[in-house]
């Protein structure tokens, strides 16, 4: 064991990684809390102490509630579609009958998640476009003209149109995680259930679902955390509008910092995002540990 005990050499190997992580991940997080206590601008050195004033302002800001609500909506819808449909599609593709088509469908369904969110956002902006858009043209073609609308231009539909785009992009990603989980289930379970006369639905509810319980919990937490981190799609498609109706925490942060030049306010919002995502991550770690112990 002497060969592997050289601490100095080990530290030398690990030093660059440690330096990067400490300087550019941990330090900015700590620094952010201090920066939220001052009034300061994006360019320039001046800063004025304001204490917790920005936090008070955020608490009273109706936009904060809109953002929180939209993040929550994002998380909730993503769980239903990404985790729900992801699991169902994976279970179907792992059925004996459908397995021979799996390669094709897996590739197609997963493909959108390798494309950048910016491209997907800009593409769907055109898909939702009132006159040239695919969606309205499709509705007209099938005689549902009365359903056509400016999807991203109306505050009632805009946030749903954005969330729907995310589902289009990421159902296949979560599906992939489920495919791997289902492949680990012992085949014998299915075979004996089949001999006992269990149908496809029964096998799904009594074997697949309980066997991939861990993956269901893990993917749910990933999607919830993702729902609270969302920025790109919203910024690209509506930048928070119309009005402030599609604002999420991250766009609220961006607008405060780089549109209104209130960097302290933006830091305060960042601290709130930190608390939310950190708590969710701790829940994830706790659940993972519980699962590992089982």
């Amino acid at each position: 064991m002497k060969l592997y005990g050289n601490k100095k050499t080990a530290l030398l190997f690990i030093a660059p990684a440690l330096l990067f992580v400490l300087l550019f991940i941990y330090y900015p997080i700590v620094q952010n809390f201090f920066l939220s206590l001052y009034r300061w601008k994006a360019f320039g050195e001046e800063r004025t102490w304001v204490g917790l004033q920005y936090y008070k302002r955020i608490a009273q800001d109706p936009v904060f509630l809109i953002a929180l609500k939209n993040n929550f909506l994002y998380a909730l819808i993503s769980i239903v579609f990404q985790v729900g449909f992801g699991l169902v599609i994976a279970a179907i593709l792992e059925e004996t009958f459908f397995r021979r088509f799996q390669g094709f469908f897996r590739t197609v369904f997963f493909m959108p998640s390798v494309i950048s969110i910016t491209v997907v956002g800009l593409l769907f902006q055109l898909v939702y476009h009132p006159s040239i858009g695919l969606l309205n043209n499709f509705l007209k073609a099938v005689g549902l003209e009365n359903l056509t609308r400016a999807w991203l231009g109306e505050s009632g539909s805009a946030i749903f149109a954005i969330v729907a785009t995310s589902q289009w992009q990421y159902i296949g990603y979560i599906m992939l995680l489920f495919l791997v989980a289902i492949q680990k289930i012992p085949r014998g379970l299915y075979e004996s259930a089949e001999i006992d006369g269990a149908g496809a639905l029964q096998r799904f509810f009594y074997i697949t679902v309980p066997q991939v319980k861990e993956t269901i919990i893990m993917t749910s937490i990933i999607t919830v955390i993702g729902g609270f981190k969302v920025f790109d799609e919203v910024y690209v498609m509506t930048a928070g509008g119309p009005g402030r109706s599609t604002e999420v925490l991250a766009t609220y942060l961006y607008r405060s910092g780089f549109r209104n030049d209130e960097m302290g306010m933006a830091s305060a919002i960042a601290s709130i995002i930190f608390v939310i995502t950190f708590v969710l991550t701790l829940v994830q770690l706790y659940v993972n540990k519980r699962i590992a112990e089982d």
Binding site: I89, V114, I115, V119, L177
Partner: protein
Amino acid sequence: MGKAKGWNPSRALVMFLLIIYSILIIYPLIWMLLSGFKDNQGLFLDTWGLPKTWLWENYVMAWKQGIGRYFVNSIIVTSVSVILTLIISSCAAFALARFDFKGQSVLLLIIIGGLMLSPQVSLISLFKFLQKLGIYNTYLALIIPYVAYRIPFTTFLIRSYMLSLPREVEDSAYIDGCSSWQVFSRIIMPMSKPILATGALLTAMSCWNEFMFALVFIESDKFKTIPVGLMNLRSSLSTNWTVLMAGLTLSVVPMIVMFLIFQKQLVRGITSGGVKG
């Protein structure tokens, strides 16, 4: 098991739904590709049809309007970030997987703990910090944060792989008097090639597609990468949608091609981490 192979109405229905869903995924992408060849009038009057004349000029124009430059920037930022991330992470993974020393688990926790922290939270303070370092609005303003944020996951990925490698070759190399560096570069690294490929692929994808840092840490057009560049293209083209679609198509080609070629490595990386992005 003859029953399991044949068609029946419910299987046909499920198949039908799977095909519909596939069309929902693929059609918008094909629409983007084809619309890139139309003019605006063709897009208005015949959204569904094939272009009447194939306007390759749109693609040329999108390229000249900026996609070309953004492409070069993305290639520079992505390739440097990938190389640095892999070197730094595999060194750290080597120390964490192939050594035994006091404090090792704490260091592991510090590095992998970086996974828990989301980039949004440090957006503002990093912006300030990069200004202070004098690298705001340069390639380094993207490369350094990208590398930092990719290290935790990549180290985790490579470390798990290195833990599974046998120790025999390494043992005899040490006994023959090789230094740690020689063992690392001549034995461990070559053995880790598959996981390095996976790590490179995931890092490349995330750097190529990253948007928020690229939006905030770069100001001048000449350093912008594709995702932010596309936003510029959108405003400069205003209603010239078909050229924009050509630009969108050009910018996804590298990722789609990479995905189709390296699907296996990609899947391995994603499922071993369970981390999005």
